[in-house]
């Protein structure tokens, strides 16, 4: 599988990014920057209630306001079937997808879109919202998933019963409950026998944990611009991780064939999973259809918090048993995930990840997907894993402490390795779990002495699948020896560079000779979302295959010029060699192309099924201020199996970014709701993301266990770093103060409560 055993010339180096100058000079065009003659501005009226029947919408007064050109509601869209479709890293029901974009008969969370206005000026559109009269019948809201599961709880979707599901992509198993409930879905994975396992244990610890609802927090708010043309073709500009997903979903909801929608490439200001599904694009499209003019919509930050897809708040119970010698004999977990207003939380992924770092004979893990009157959750970096593994790694830490074992030794003793079968039945191939544990164990950080009052050190591990899926690449060879590399992957944090590097490596040409371009959905083959840690992996593979296609064609051309057999021509490091010591450099053959039969293009479509799972182990030192309850991060080291680091600086930066978000989950961030379901902190002042001041330098140990399922040994790197920080920080707090944090974030007020309970 490995493309070549020679040392790499490009892969593993740290070149500057092709889009760098545009991004440091302000020239890069993000979705919100597009502008067209006659363009209208759209705004959305949102529900002030978390749960209400929409009895009537009267937009007549708003339509009379000078400058208002159109208003749309759910009634302007064709009805959708009650049918499940793939949606980036998650799935969604079509009928629910429409109602999520714009509410149908019920508003199911505060901020649910009710109507959309297009006007000649954004201020007029805003003013028009106040003139739309909506008659609501307010219903009791249910916000807590455990309360939502109880019989008699307010029912979000009348008639809903629990659907039993299989693995992550296995869909429904057919079994459904009979009682009406808000528990939309249930999954259960079993390996061995729990009773046998716990009977063998000398120590059993069972704990329950809660995590808050967190937002991805991308700095760019959502946007969507659409132009519905007279021939019923629609052009869309949207800052999205997946332009093909936006194309398909917009087309579906607008009643068009996907081929009639073209999504244009624009830069994207962060996504982290949150920009993988349509939010406003279909509204802009229908407003454009009604007005005959392009319509642009941009969200405010409050709308982003209230009207997009954050991650699930969770309640998780974990029970682990071990022998005195440190052998884990049984692991049991029940995960309850908030789905928000519609089913589709990452409860299955959470259940599959929870115990993945461990090789244990007896495991049972079940998960629940529960609808509540909160925003419908979306994907957020390793969806489901951070909360699940926070619970598991906290209990692991407690058992190690009780058995007086080093926490890393305890993990190593029970570590999953090649061949280990997970509870969901999948067996691991070549993985770097043990390697990351050892990297931390041998690190200067872990070996250093930590002194000082109220200071502590914690470690935690984590697992994430990573995915493969479909990517395409085209490559246009120019006569000057450069190549335009054409891809369909949104460049969210270095995609252009990472794909161009693998392409240059295979073709044996300098990175600087490759000009990567992200193009629209008509100009490149189907390419799935930039997400799931798949792009450097599958997109890089497509780029590699496109380079191989060019190599084949160049060998043919050289054989034709030299009038020899194909076998007599070889291609190595960008040089063609033939009989009688004849040779062409890549540059020389490119100059020959126009007058020897024409220029050439390479192309490739790939859909790899080998994904290269990722493991990470983190160590953190914290200091707790017993007066204020504030927790400071003193030092942080993250070891991660990255397969092959294509661009080590970008890999480090992905890991540092993931750690920063994980620390936000552990200490700072959380949706705060009042009893009626109003988010009380929908600004970046009160929803507290880490700043420069909250973080130290974040040290990274790149562990390279090459993925045998990729030409360059690449594994996805983006998601796993957000998984370990929650438990690592919680375990460090325990080491510092002797208290177990069972609810995150560990905000100062929660810390003070814990310290007070301990003192009392």
């Amino acid at each position: 599988m490995v493309a070549t055993d020679r040392p790499h010339n490009v892969v593993g180096t740290r070149p500057v990014r092709p889009d760098g100058v545009d991004k440091v000079t302000g020239r890069a065009t993000y979705g919100g920057d597009v502008r067209f003659p006659g363009m209208l501005y759209g705004r959305i009226l949102r529900s002030p209630h978390a749960h209400a029947i929409i009895k009537n919408i009267d937009a007549s007064k708003a339509l009379e306001l000078d400058g208002v050109r159109a208003i749309v509601t759910n009634a302007d869209f064709a009805r959708q079937p009650d049918e499940e479709v793939a949606l980036g890293e998650l799935t969604a029901n079509l009928s629910e997808m429409l109602d999520q974009v714009i509410a149908g008969t019920k508003a199911l969370y505060r901020g649910h879109a009710i109507a959309a206005v297009a006007a000649t000026d954004p201020h007029i559109a805003e003013d028009a919202l106040d003139l739309i009269e909506v008659e609501y019948e307010v219903l009791d809201a249910v916000l807590d998933p455990q309360e939502a599961m109880r019989p008699g709880a307010p029912q979000l979707h009348p008639g809903m019963v629990t659907q039993e599901v299989g693995g992550l992509f296995d869909g429904e198993t057919g079994e459904a409950g009979t009682e009406e409930t808000n528990a939309a879905k249930h999954v259960k994975f079993t390996k061995g026998d729990l009773d046998t396992g716990f009977a063998e244990a000398d120590i059993i610890i069972e704990r329950e944990f809660d995590t808050g609802m967190y937002h991805q927090g991308y700095i760019e708010t959502h946007n969507g611009t659409a132009m519905w043309k007279k021939d019923d073709r629609v052009q869309v500009w949207s800052s999205t991780q997946g332009q093909f997903e936006v194309r398909d979903q917009t087309a579906l909801l607008c009643g068009l064939a996907p081929s009639r929608v073209t999504v244009e490439p624009v830069e994207i200001g962060g996504g982290f999973g949150g920009k993988t599904h349509v939010v406003m694009e279909p509204l802009a499209a229908i407003l454009s259809k009604k007005t005959g003019r392009p319509v642009k919509m941009i969200m405010t930050r409050q709308e982003v918090f209230e009207g997009t897809g954050p991650t699930s708040g969770t309640h998780n119970r974990v029970k682990i048993g071990a022998k005195r010698d440190g052998t884990i004999t049984a692991m049991d977990a029940e995960l309850i995930f908030e789905a928000g207003a519609y089913p589709g939380s990452p409860f299955t992924a959470g259940a599959m990840c929870a115990f993945a770092p461990y090789d244990v004979d007896n495991i049972e893990v079940e998960g629940w997907d529960v609808v509540v009157n909160k925003p419908k959750v979306g994907a957020y970096r390793a969806p489901g894993a951070p909360a699940a593994e926070y619970a598991v790694e906290s209990v692991i830490d407690e058992i190690a402490e009780r058995l007086e074992l080093d926490p890393l030794e305890f993990r190593l003793q029970n570590a999953a390795q090649e061949g280990t079968v997970r509870a969901d039945g999948a067996a691991f191939g070549v993985i770097g779990n043990v390697d990351t544990l050892q990297a931390v164990q041998q690190s200067e950080h872990y070996r250093s002495e930590l002194s000082g009052e109220n200071r502590g050190r914690g470690v935690a591990s984590g697992f994430w699948f990573n995915v493969g899926f479909t990517s395409a690449a085209h490559a246009n060879v120019m006569s000057d020896g450069t190549v335009g590399l054409v891809v369909g992957s949104a460049d969210i944090g270095g995609t252009r560079a990472a794909l161009a590097m693998q392409f240059a490596e295979t073709l044996g040409i300098p990175y600087e000779s490759v000009n990567p371009q992200v193009v629209n959905t008509d100009a490149i083959g189907y390419t799935m979302v930039t997400g799931g840690s798949r792009t450097a992996f599958a997109g890089g593979w497509a780029a590699h295959e496109a380079a191989l296609d060019i190599r084949r064609q160049l060998v043919e051309r050289a054989a034709m010029i030299w009038e020899c057999d194909l076998d007599a021509v070889s291609y190595e490091d960008g040089v063609l060699s033939g009989p009688d010591d004849q040779s062409f450099t890549f540059q020389e053959i490119c100059e020959q192309l126009p007058h020897t039969g024409g220029l050439i293009q390479g192309k490739a479509d790939v859909s790899p099924e080998t994904s290269g799972p990722a493991f990470a182990c983190h160590v953190v030192d914290v200091e707790v201020d017993p007066e204020t309850g504030k927790v400071d991060i003193l030092r942080y080291t993250a070891a991660q199996d990255v397969g092959t680091a294509v661009h080590p600086s970008y890999v480090e930066s992905q890991i540092q970014g993931g750690v920063a978000q994980g620390i936000g989950m552990a200490l700072h961030e959380e949706y705060v709701f009042d009893d009626s379901g109003n988010m009380e902190n929908p600004t970046l002042l009160d929803y507290r993301m880490p700043t420069t001041f909250d973080l130290p330098m974040l040290d990274v140990l790149l562990v390279e266990v090459a993925n045998p399922g990729h030409p360059y040994g690449v594994r996805g790197v983006g998601e796993i770093p957000i998984v370990p920080p929650l438990a690592a920080v919680a375990n460090a707090i325990h080491d510092a103060m002797g208290v177990r944090v069972t609810q995150l974030p560990a905000t100062p007020d929660r810390m003070l409560e814990l310290l007070e309970e301990q003192g009392g």
Binding site: T25, G26, D33, E220, I492, A660, Q661, T683, T692
Partner: protein, 155 residues
């Protein structure tokens, strides 16, 4: 109801009529099509819209356009001079101080102000100076590195 103002942006004088409720950030983006000034939060926390007003960094979403009457404003588009990137622009590019690039213009404009005040800043001074600019992608490490590289190169 519009109000006449005159502002000098990136060295060029503009005489404009603006609605009193227009924010400077919107004036720059909509009226002057300088879309390098990004908007991320509307409430002055994220710093993506940072520009220099009379040489001092300010979040342009907290300033009404009418308040900028008579001021000299520098945006990210005005930083490169004579075809040469500003040392901080070079440093953010060279040191990989960005991923998605959305916070970058504001981060650089705050950085310019910071380096004016502290030509050789310590890591702590950099972190204090940039703590009004949120980056969600990088964990800030490469941004701090870029600031240090630019300061080193300038001294």
């Amino acid at each position: 109801m519009s109000v006449p103002i005159s502002v000098t942006v990136n060295g060029r004088l503009h005489e404009l009529e603006v609605e009193p409720r227009t924010l400077l950030a919107h004036l720059l983006r909509e009226d002057l099509t300088l879309t390098g000034t990004h908007i991320g939060c509307d409430t002055s926390q994220c710093g993506a819209c940072t520009v220099l007003i009379d040489g001092t960094s300010a979040k342009s979403c907290t300033v009404l356009a009418v308040q900028a009457d008579g001021a000299e404003i520098t945006t990210i588009e005005g930083l490169a001079q004579d075809g040469q990137l500003h040392p901080l622009q070079e440093a953010f590019w060279d040191e990989h101080g960005l991923q998605c690039g959305y916070c970058t213009p504001g981060m650089i404009m705050s950085g310019v102000d910071l380096l004016e005040r502290h030509p050789s800043p310590s890591e702590a001074e950099i972190r204090r100076g940039l703590d009004g600019n949120l980056c969600r992608c990088t964990g800030y490490e490469h941004i701090v590195n870029a600031m240090q590289a630019a300061a080193g190169g300038a001294s």
